[in-house]
Symmetry: C2
Subunit: 276 residues, 2 copies
């Protein structure tokens, strides 16, 4: 691809009109882009003018859709998939002929506990982080144009990383949360909990109502990164349990201070992080 083919993003095609696709559609319109919304089965004509194609389909549909539309993207276009797992997507797209267009993996750190276009919001991404996982040969100007676009639809920061680092971090910051919440809610005491709980318990179990098809697919797609994250967490819980059982106050204080210090350092790093 010639450098001159990569320009500012003016026309955006959003494929898939669920919660996330709908929110990108509304946010792009609001930010002033010429925006087209496509459903999974729509023909390729609408792609001819798109500088940016956001593929917001269920994970198993993403690679087949991109493969079957590989010849329809315009020269200089950037195609970004929007889903929560990145290594398998980039691996499966590595051999797709990309004649003049660029693929970049994408994962917005935003969502809601409700699904569908009817729940999508133009301001869903305000202040959130957008993660991008490009191929190694991705032109710098493509990433610069994407940063501008994602900032313009509300994101507070864009992180560029490898698919492997993305998958490890998401196993920790998202999937482990969901495994903890569902495991928490599977205790018999849940049925007695009305009147015995405040904000911490509500925060800890809110996402227990996750959809079993979506989440089992995400856990399994990211199995290689998730299992070691689960193993380490279970080991730390068991260490804490043993200190309680042994009545070891010094060890408990040490473990609490370690967790509290790590969390405080993270809060400080978050406050100091560059935006945009």
């Amino acid at each position: 691809m010639r450098r001159s083919d990569v320009g500012a993003i003016r026309t955006v095609a959003v494929v898939g009109m669920g919660l996330i696709g709908g929110s990108f559609y509304k946010a792009s319109l609001k930010a002033g882009y010429r925006t087209v919304g496509l459903h999974h089965g729509d023909g390729p004509a609408a792609l001819a003018d798109a500088d940016l194609v956001l593929v917001c389909l269920p994970p198993p549909a993403i690679v087949p859709w991109i493969r079957s539309h590989a010849a329809a993207f315009r020269r200089g276009a950037t195609v970004v998939d929007i889903c929560g797992v990145k290594s398998p997507i980039l691996r499966d797209l590595a051999d797709v002929p990309r004649d003049g267009w660029t693929f970049v993996g994408g994962h917005p750190m935003a969502g809601r506990e409700v699904a569908g276009f009817e729940n999508s919001l133009a301001d869903l991404f305000v202040g959130a982080s957008m993660i991008l996982t490009p191929f190694a040969d991705c032109p710098g100007e493509t990433l610069a144009a994407l940063r501008d676009y994602f900032a313009s639809v509300g994101f507070g920061m864009t992180v560029v990383t490898t698919p492997e680092k993305h998958d490890e971090m998401i196993a920790f910051t998202s999937q482990l949360c969901h495994v903890v919440a569902t495991s928490y809610a599977r205790d018999d005491l849940v049925k007695d909990s009305v009147g015995f709980s405040a904000g911490s318990y509500a925060d800890m179990t809110r996402i227990a109502t996750q959809n079993e098809n979506d989440w089992s697919a995400l856990y399994l797609a990211n199995r290689a990164s998730l299992v070691p994250v689960l193993d380490r967490f279970i080991e730390r819980m068991a260490g804490f349990r043993d200190a309680v059982a042994a009545g070891d106050a010094d060890e408990l204080k040490r473990l609490i201070v370690e967790g509290a210090s790590a969390k405080r350092r993270e809060i400080a790093a978050r406050a100091a992080a560059p935006k945009g």
Copy 2:
């Protein structure tokens, strides 16, 4: 005690002016009670008029303070301790002579992540649950007067239960949350998490900044109830981990549905719960 000694609560003495004591002090004043705030070392004179004494001291100070003031409470007074563990308090107070006054254990399901009178709020308890653990011989009119008082300072419901059931439920709804949060934050990946997280991770780790002295004391005071709660949670996490490692999608869906169904039943029960 004669029934006629138990009347409506008009004068409230709050002992201990930290976050919770200060909030009871401000909420009682706002609700129109004659309210006295006492510090730990204040003399007994201020207790002579108090219909209700709320003992908001650190847990180890509660029983000694009540013992040493046992002769100072007025006839018909109700003394409620305010702290997060109940069986040891009631056990240690069982032999204290209660000449015309009544003791009831108390635990408000409300708090903040900041401490001290300067952070106390008149509306801290609005909509929260107040848990009461009376001795078996507690007069019904005492509990009725307490329900009225706690409703008047903002609580949405009052739950009367045994100290043992309280301690088991709190191990599950509060202490397990705090152990999970601190164990979560002790992973090396926390330092890389800026840009890789959304609301779930923030909700899950917010309380990791817990105070090591307060919380190690609470965990150990409730050791008998907490250890089995931790064991069951670790076992469920390990079962989930094994299903991920084995690539068993059916088992993962079964576990997720079990957690999601339990959480949905809890949400429905909460919506249907009687208030006040």
